[in-house]
Symmetry: C2
């Protein structure tokens, strides 16, 4: 039984990335994330963060995926499990990437390092917290958050 | 206009966490993530990872959220924007947490540090990659992945 759950686009990615981009180019790509006006109040204080976790939706998929695959479709790389890769073709077509927040201009966040194509729906934005091995805190923006240097 | 997008549960969390758990208790909580049999092939090689990124769905929400809130509902903490917190009450009720992979037993992953309640739907599992500031690679399980020490 397939359980379908609903999520919502809070905004969209605007950048120069087209489907033929090489994955290495994403690292320093600058993108605008334009948040819908009705969600803009949720951006209060967002500029305190040096890094953000962006949750986005691979909307160019046709719903197809393979549970075992050559990473990046490269037959020189051994077949492995889908959940051992960051392939965009997944049962839940969700991408999660930590980006650097360069600037905020009203409803628009200017970020570096987002590996999403132009037009990608953004589902959520979270403060980037230090990961488990470094002493993670749960649900507390005041502790262990990576803050902008002053 | 609200754009609804669909995601899918690939499995469920089984642990001792009930809604009255204190958030500090999650850090060392051990959970089983039981993957549905139809997705089990996607777990091939997953045990090579020391850390995994778990994407899950806050299914106990009623769809309500506030765009500005006191973190953790604590009035001693100043009001801030929702996207500056990891509150469970979000337009897209998605949680993202890096956990430590303790063991794999068939379709079941035993993990430490997952801040999700018993019964939570799991949407996706990804290898944890080093974050932007540490030199992130995109979509390549062979590079910059945090591997289990041998």
């Amino acid at each position: 039984m397939m359980e379908q759950l609903a999520v919502t686009a809070i905004g969209y990615v605007h950048n120069s990335a087209t489907p033929d981009i090489h994955s290495e180019e994403f690292r320093h790509l600058v993108s605008d994330i334009v948040i819908k006006p009705e969600y803009a109040d949720g951006l209060m204080d967002i500029e305190e963060n040096e890094f953000l976790t962006i949750v986005f939706y691979f909307n160019r998929n046709d719903g197809e995926y393979r549970l075992r695959l050559h990473p990046r479709g490269d037959e020189a790389r051994p077949i492995t499990g889908l959940f051992n890769t960051r392939s965009q073709f997944r049962p839940s077509p969700i991408g999660v990437t930590v980006v650097k927040l360069m600037a905020r201009k009203g409803n628009t966040l200017v970020v570096e390092g987002l590996d999403a194509l132009d037009g990608t729906p953004v589902l959520d934005i979270k403060p980037h917290v230090l990961t488990f091995d470094e002493g993670k805190e749960i649900d507390d923006p005041g502790k262990n958050r990576v803050r902008k240097p002053r």
